[in-house]
Symmetry: C2
Subunit: 266 residues, 2 copies
Amino acid sequence: VILVDGAATPLVPADDRGLAYGDGVFETMSAVDGRVPLLERHLRRMAEGAGRLGIAMPDAALWRADLARALPAQGRAVAKLVLTRGSGARGYLPTVDAAPRRIVAVDRWADRPASWWSDGIALRVCATRVGVNPALAGLKHLNRLEQVLARAEWSDASAVEGLMLDMEDRVVGGTMSNVFAVVEGALCTPPVDRAGVAGIARALIIEALGARERALTLADLSAAGELFVTNALIGAWPVATLEARRFDARAAVRAAQTAVRAAGLP
Amino acid sequence: VILVDGAATPLVPADDRGLAYGDGVFETMSAVDGRVPLLERHLRRMAEGAGRLGIAMPDAALWRADLARALPAQGRAVAKLVLTRGSGARGYLPTVDAAPRRIVAVDRWADRPASWWSDGIALRVCATRVGVNPALAGLKHLNRLEQVLARAEWSDASAVEGLMLDMEDRVVGGTMSNVFAVVEGALCTPPVDRAGVAGIARALIIEALGARERALTLADLSAAGELFVTNALIGAWPVATLEARRFDARAAVRAAQTAVRAAGLP
């Protein structure tokens, strides 16, 4: 099911600035029985992102009405919200009168092996780097070519997620997830003020477990006692292996899973 | 006039990966009397960009046929070609069977003051930086939020173009143009292997005038004897002022204008 500005259509005008420039933000969320856990947080993050880009955020009631129409009443589903600056004239300058466009797409839930939550996943290190730019850091914006290129580095089952470093050799996170590490006994996660996405599950876990933001290198991760990745679709997955390194500890990720499950995530 | 995969429609499927992730490349070109100067070069650059992103480049004959249908027979127009990875399932991993999508949009030519070619333009320095990433550098890809934010820094007539620096304080170019400078008597332009777009007019001028690639700082530009900006739509504009600095020399830009006009650009 796809709604564009509230209308049931799978089509978007070709002059949309989201398509032309990636000029917009999005949210990907898990839904259960017609409800989206943490929807308030998702809408707040979208509003903050839209504010930083200078895009007017549609009223939350519009998003909620779209979701009520598009979500199945029963079972799990994936809901995606996209907000673009709308149709625009040629050129980068945002037109003053552009009406932002909202797109709500609901897909069926893709089942994943239960072992990814219990035993963990294989994490590989991607060659594709993330450019550093504070102006865009933290935002879940539509400029995601770096993640596409990183995820295209493998297509077999050798890894579930890929780790990305920035151009300064700092850990940013997974292609589609944030990363947490237990370093010197303390749970930490990279800051998102120079690159990366300020994940909703990440924020929840920082609050629930008192995790700290700390710049991390690949060496820090290899030396860590425990590693896990998070996002709002999957909750938290232990990292069983990072390339050749194995991780056996699971105490921190169990606490993280308890926290996100209490909020309704998988 | 808009053609999507050869069909006269202004609509694109909402699951297009160009919209979802900026997963694609584009070309913006000036057309005269139904013909596009330097079309060979544009199609070659698009093919190279598509190749780097792993997107299959449609046959040049398809683009040419679209342009033949969309372009007016008389007068100047702006033609834009967009190539996306096509419709995709959820997630960053490119689907193997995705058919790339081509969009051809033709707009009317926007007249600009003749003085921008003769006397020059005001160039301002943008606060928004360009992230450094060799994986994307040089490409005219659809991730253009940095340029959008830079161009949104002003909307009055105080400047025509904005200069962007990368995160390492090097000059990248204008928001929509490449920049050339006469430094120590030699014409040079920043390399595009860490950030920036490998412009078609830029390449032509490098070849015609023997310009060299050289890393440039803002101080280099202020100390330069002459400055100009280029793209395939406008050809070459002298820079009359860079913030408070005035430039009076025009010899290099006149040579550049002669070269691009010989190729059919304005």
